[in-house]
Symmetry: C2
Subunit: 322 residues, 2 copies
DNA sequence: CTGAAAGCGCTTACAG
DNA sequence: CTGAAAGCGCTTACAG
């Protein structure tokens, strides 16, 4: 049922080579011949099989994407950005899941090598997966880390987390907050937090465990602002503080990270630092395609700017009653 | 750099055919020869290129998955289920996005046809995409709808939404609720809602717009239960009713659908009807592989049971003050 | 047990 | 402008 070049050629009494050229609009083929060929091909919904072509060109026009097995909606948009970038350049996306368990991950890597994906994107949460990446690099297949910890041999695209950290503290500082509880989870964000703090003359009280937030906050009336490492974390803090009688539009201001759907929920209306999720994916594809074009080039590292999404949990600092 | 059968054969002074057989553990090859071959192959991380093989076998060992462009976390788990099912059978997943916009979707379909995916899974929200499906069916490639509206030519796996509708109303009925506000969005769920209502002698008040919930609820003190079409919808209702002074652990009971992360958030603790998300994906793959094995078979249709996840918003009916 | 050869669907020099 | 042929990496009868 599948239609091949050979079948088209036989039906039209031309050679296979001619059909091949005609379908790629080669000027070598006479206008008349080409028309006949293209017409027949379209009428049969002819789609070229990539097998034969790939065997020649040594490229599959497939980009592999490896995700952590987390099921966060963050990756949906990242993936969609990658997908749109790939498709617009004629590439398809092959999907796999990556964990530290080699038994789980390696078969998927092997599968991608069998399909001879042209490049690999590792979407990650800061972990280093060079062990897997090397199986591709050894074969000169470019690897791009997307939001992971960049290594020497691989290109990368990340959110500028230093800037992200700055934005959060800066926003609070500009609203008059002088003492801020601040999640210390990722070193680059924390660096940004500190930079903004010293620039604005603001004091940071770090925490690494969300259970510590309530006692720290309740114990110090100078603390009026809170910076969290995620929207989920921020919403939990809001929940806890509300239930202890604090108002999130008066007693404290709070800032999340990521702008996931929970942040815009009317129950929270959380001010947050957003990442360019779709752009992370499409930029990763962009870098991969560049590397494919210029195989000699050194790995590229690109940073995307995060931005503040202001909602109702950012308010002027106010002395609290308790 | 990529290692081929030919290269292995030359290094060992055997023929290509022998290497090919040895790597597939054929008993035709002498134990000693096989060992030498396998050792060399492993030492070079030889991975067979699928191009040559696919050209012979006419199958790519690739399953296509088409998702709607919604970015709901629902699809993350579905996809992961599909991925695990596929990998465990030696198949890879090729990803694409499907909308009603043919300009957007058709290039992705063409790409999948070029890669000659062996089967297609359409993960959908009840929409019918037969126009696209037919491009595969015409080529005898099985198509499986995953949570979409099943059509004649395609297999399908869906959540049993009639049962889902029943579970929600039944749960409220068993807690003594006699009059229930009920979202009327999907016909099968509504059928389930009605079936349970008549079985338990409960009265249903349908709504099709969430803005109608507050006035309906406030205007009728007999209404104590609410059934929503999603967790998101339920959380919005909770938000609204709370702000009008109603307590979600006393004045009303409310049930969502899907068990997404917002349902388990401490701020909501929503009782909800959960779908077997991962199973939807892995079952879709399972059906696709069955169809591949038995090409003559009629399309299969499978239903997965949803189940109730009880949290804090399901409580005994209580006469409200206002 | 092993090798030589044909062929899967394509592309690409090379003739004519 | 068109055709015949080689070759990409593999598998699979067929000889020996």
């Amino acid at each position: 049922m599948t239609c091949t070049l050979k079948q088209l050629a036989e039906q039209l009494n031309v050679s296979i080579g001619t059909v091949s050229l005609a379908l790629r609009n080669s000027p070598l083929v006479a206008e008349k011949t080409r028309k006949r060929i293209i017409e027949l091909a379209e009428s049969q919904d002819y789609v070229q099989s990539s097998f034969g072509r790939a065997l020649q060109s040594r490229c599959s026009k497939l980009i592999g994407v490896l995700l952590p097995t987390l099921t966060s909606s963050f990756f949906n948009e990242l993936l969609q950005g990658a997908g749109e970038g790939a498709v617009s350049s004629g590439y398809g996306l092959m999907l796999g899941w990556i964990t530290e368990d080699k038994e789980y991950t390696n078969p998927q890597i092997t599968l991608m090598l069998e399909k001879e994906i042209d490049a690999l994107i590792i979407a990650s949460h800061g972990k280093n997966f060079d062990f897997y990446a090397n199986r591709f690099i050894r074969r000169n297949k470019p690897v791009v880390y997307c939001n992971g910890s960049p290594s020497e041999n691989c290109s990368s695209v990340c959110t500028d987390d230093v800037l992200g950290g700055k934005l959060a503290v800066q926003a609070l500082a500009e609203y008059g907050h002088k003492k801020i509880l601040c999640a210390q989870y990722y070193s680059s964000r924390w660096a940004g937090n500190q930079a903004a703090a010293s620039q604005y003359g603001v004091q940071l009280v770090p925490f690494t465990d969300y259970n510590a937030v309530l006692p720290l906050f309740a114990g110090d009336r100078d603390i009026t602002g809170i910076v969290c490492h995620s929207d989920e974390g921020a919403s939990l803090v809001m929940h806890t503080l509300r239930h202890h009688g604090y108002s999130d539009t008066g007693d404290f201001s709070i800032i999340g990270y990521n702008d996931l759907s929970i942040a815009s929920h009317p129950e929270f209306q959380l001010t947050t630092v957003a990442q360019q999720r779709k752009n992370l994916g499409s930029t990763a594809v962009e870098i991969a395609l560049e590397q494919l074009k210029n195989p000699g080039n050194h790995p590229t590292h690109r940073l995307l700017d995060p931005f503040l999404v202001k909602r109702q949990t950012l308010n002027p600092a106010r002395r609290r009653k308790k």
